[in-house]
Symmetry: C2
Subunit: 344 residues, 2 copies
Amino acid sequence: MAVTQEDVARRAGVARKTVSNVISDYPHVSDRIRKKVLAAIEELGYQPNRAAQNLRSGRSGMIGLAVPELDVSYFAELTRLVVQATERRGLTVLIIQTFGDLTREHASLNGFGHQRLIDGLICSPIASSGEDILNRGGGFPVVLLGEQVSVAPDHAGIDHVGIDNVAAARTATEHLLSLPRKRVAFVGASRSTDSHMADLRLAGYRQALAAAGVPLRPELVFSVNGYHRRDGAEAGRRILALPPEERPDGVFCANDLLAQGLMRALHDTGYRIPHDVAVVGFDDIDEATYSIPSLTSVSPDKAQIAETAVALLLDRVNGSDEADHDTVTDFSLVVRESTAGPRR
Amino acid sequence: MAVTQEDVARRAGVARKTVSNVISDYPHVSDRIRKKVLAAIEELGYQPNRAAQNLRSGRSGMIGLAVPELDVSYFAELTRLVVQATERRGLTVLIIQTFGDLTREHASLNGFGHQRLIDGLICSPIASSGEDILNRGGGFPVVLLGEQVSVAPDHAGIDHVGIDNVAAARTATEHLLSLPRKRVAFVGASRSTDSHMADLRLAGYRQALAAAGVPLRPELVFSVNGYHRRDGAEAGRRILALPPEERPDGVFCANDLLAQGLMRALHDTGYRIPHDVAVVGFDDIDEATYSIPSLTSVSPDKAQIAETAVALLLDRVNGSDEADHDTVTDFSLVVRESTAGPRR
DNA sequence: GCCGGTGTTTACCACGTGGCAGAGAAAGTT
DNA sequence: AACTTTCTCTGCCACGTGGTAAACACCGGC
């Protein structure tokens, strides 16, 4: 069934190893032999056995990409970019969804209980702590995406790529305050698992309030169970349960999906956006451009994140760079309809 | 560095093969030895080498899932379900994005130029023809998702899972006609690549018109370059370029993203949905529930599709089922705001 | 005490490939 | 002409595992 180098060698009338040499572009092979071997490969339709290559070489040619969920558009968009950056370098990406589950994150950090499945991992951690990541057992390099996880001072061989979440959240909140809006809420504090991402964005929100001399009102910080549209809608309903005079006139959401769900819930009760409530999201997913109203959002440079992460990881995989990198990527605030103009 | 069965065996004072037996739950192993071996595994942190297992067993434990693009929400949602269904059976999914590119689809059908990378493939083809799929060289079973690709009569060892696209499109169009709407357009005919999916949905649209005795107006069939929001928005602008009396009062879009882009473009010019134009989408992605207005959509039973596809594929991988299956899964029409009520 | 049976452990081999170094031939040097 | 160097090609080995079957130990029965 399967054609091996042995079969090709027989067909071409050479040694099996010569076939291997042709394939791996070993320089000292005569043109005559090379042609014969290539012809035999063509005729027989030989394809290398990845498992054997992998076993022999110790490389799988795959890197892992662990993201929480692909149906969170931000990660889908980022995944696409990471895959493209990796393929450009001739490798394959094994995409793993962790669903924010600690067990699954550990599994990915430990190589899924298998050696040599992946040569390296790009991981966007949710539940894992710094220690979890340091204690990884996979034996392969790791690049962390997104929020900076506090690991040991020397990072211990782990790279990081992501934007400055605190600064970005501060920028978003300052934008709401400048419209001006008086009662600016934060939606997306973490309720169940402790999400470092949420902590950082909440910190930026607080910094902006403090800088503007606005007292933090705990009743305007809304926790969520997750970061999907339904969780945003649920937060919206909690906002509407407040007495009218206590409701916010501006909301900064920890991600765009929350914002979309929130806008939908507010819309159901006749609230106008941005007229009654201005909304800012985070991630700048494609939907933010096209939703009604379109959504003002913090836009991380996803292409830069993907490209940097892949480059750093492969440098480590190839052993060409041992230093620890902590790359801070760019972001911008894209202003759209959801924050256009002052209140009333 | 890497701990092998050999190391475990030395530690436990047994033969290497005994370690292998313990791991593969060979029944005739004494408790005393089993405990010793398991203890040694624990102490040394042994992890099986996947490449070696793969090489020896001829199984990779991975199946491929080839979808056009993960940032098309329908595929992201479907991917999640396929991954969950596969993991429940103890296997891993290698997710591949083909971007509707023929070369990439061929690569996936042929196992990416490598043997034994995947044990089977679930493929959602866009560009591939029936022959392309029949001439696959991967040597592993394939399950096709989505539109029925016309392959040879006996299917030649290929399963298919998907809804009846024609019937679903007819249902959607009939819904628009029943509101009633007089000028019902179709958005999503394929412009560049020939998309079988688009052909089928267009066919359903035509059937519904014919059944209602409504003549097909070619100027109400809009082609697109792709199936993203931007393509829907572009179609919307072409609709707005028509003289007002020629514009449709109902639009059936080939997928939800087109519908979202279309609604956005119409909204920009002050069109009210469903007041002026009723819109129906296809896929029932999460966004359809939360958008403003929420979107009436054909809802394929994605969980059923994923579950069936994985079950069929693994039956073939395990050799337990050789018959060709063509499973037609359920769909429903979920009516929401975008088609609520008659015109004007 | 020998024997078949059952339970437990082990030795050997093969999966397909790449690294290494050696064999043989051709070319260049003294 | 003999010797070195360079170029081609080849054979051997190991990667870590699971399948097959042989070896060994123990047990009960005649």
